[in-house]
């Protein structure tokens, strides 16, 4: 089966489509729809010159908790209570870092309104990390942290946040769900000690449901 249009791959023309976004992270540089942001320290952002390695963010090296990310500069078009995202990401550095991808409520250093996949070297397993305006919750998956590319899906509804890894539902959270509009975000952060830490992303797609 072939479709007449990209539109009709996702919706019939009788439906008014909601907002939808994707990025392949292929090209000479990051597409200008993203903002490169150094929340702490000075990171390095670059398209990787290697097969299937997408886009890379390496944190600054000067201090602990240096973090850099890409986001939509507070153009928060994603619904906190009716949206989904799919991403393909991997942590590159083996120690003392967090690699995360998902949705942020704000572009500041530590947004509490959040729903992300997190691969953190100090954890045993990969987690779903979500929060409302005041509190956050971390829910373990059964997948051990690693440096392999992982297919992540996060689904937000008014009653839950669910994380599926490699096609299997791995974590469900029903507390501290985000309660305001969101934006896509992908972040590298060093923890425990100073040093440049790297995370890569090959695909990101988000849409309202």
């Amino acid at each position: 089966m072939v479709f007449n249009s990209v539109y009709e791959m996702f919706n019939p023309l009788t439906e008014v489509r909601k907002q939808h976004f994707w990025d392949w992270f292929s090209g000479d540089d990051l597409h200008n729809r993203w903002t490169k942001r150094d929340n702490s320290g000075t990171g390095v952002f670059n398209m990787v010159d290697a097969v299937d390695e997408g886009f890379s963010i390496t944190t600054g090296a000067a201090a602990t908790n240096n973090r850099s990310r890409i986001d939509h500069n507070n153009k928060r078009w994603v619904a906190h209570n009716g949206s989904e995202l799919i991403a393909v990401v991997r942590r590159v550095t083996t120690t003392n870092m967090i690699c995360q991808v998902g949705l942020h409520g704000d572009a500041n250093t530590s947004p509490t309104e959040i729903a992300v996949y997190r691969d953190q070297t100090s954890n045993t397993n990969k987690v779903l990390f979500n929060g409302d305006a005041t509190s956050t919750t971390s829910t373990d998956s059964s997948i051990v942290v690693d440096e392999n590319y992982t297919n992540v899906k996060i689904q937000l509804t008014s009653s839950s946040a669910k994380m599926t890894l490699a096609g299997v539902l791995e974590a469900t959270s029903t507390t501290n769900l985000p309660d305001s509009k969101m934006q896509p975000a992908f972040e590298s952060r060093n923890i425990t000690s100073a040093g440049a830490k790297e995370c890569r992303i090959r695909y990101f797609e988000a849409y309202n449901t």
């Binding site: 007449n4 009788t14 008014v16 907002q19 939808h20 200008n32 507070n74 078009w77 619904a79």
Partner: protein, 211 residues
Amino acid sequence: MPATSASLYEQLFPLTTVMKQRFVDNFSGDALDTDRWTHSDLTGTGSSGISDAVDGGGFVKSGGGSADASQMAFNGVGQYAYNASVCIGVTKTATTTSFSRFGFTSNGTTATNLNIADFENNSSDTYTSLRSGDASTTSVINSTTAQHVNWTAIKLELTASNIVLYEEGVSTATKTTNLPVASLEPILRIESASVATVKEISVRYMECYNT
């Protein structure tokens, strides 16, 4: 479960088909893709950009004058065939006392009404409408849809003999006169119809392709 394929290309065509020109914009991100879109002020000083709102998409706003008008298009790069193309979008006229246009033009940096094909939503009309112009004359016909300020899915289908307007999958107007005769580029325009306030057209999706 829909069929999957190894490529986006093969969701649209078999590999035996040579794809013609196509573009898709989801209007999601930190800013408008200004590598693609060029904003033009026809009267007054307006703006184009991305909205900070759930499902808000992109926008073109007029200046605050009662006759101000602004648009965004492809800066005169006409890649779409006047006699064999399609344009699909999700758009809304976000303000009353305004006049919005979604579709094709032959010159995206001017206010030309010649060699055009667009969906119009004029708050002073009873119905939405389909407008087209050839090299010398422009004309308009009503659709069967009452004028509104809601998000709507639009499809314009241009052939050598007519232009068909679809609103949310239903054919609401067919036009056979004053069809464009020059290559076309996508356009979104907002004009103030009266009342000196900023007027806005919003767009959440746009896809155009040659057939």
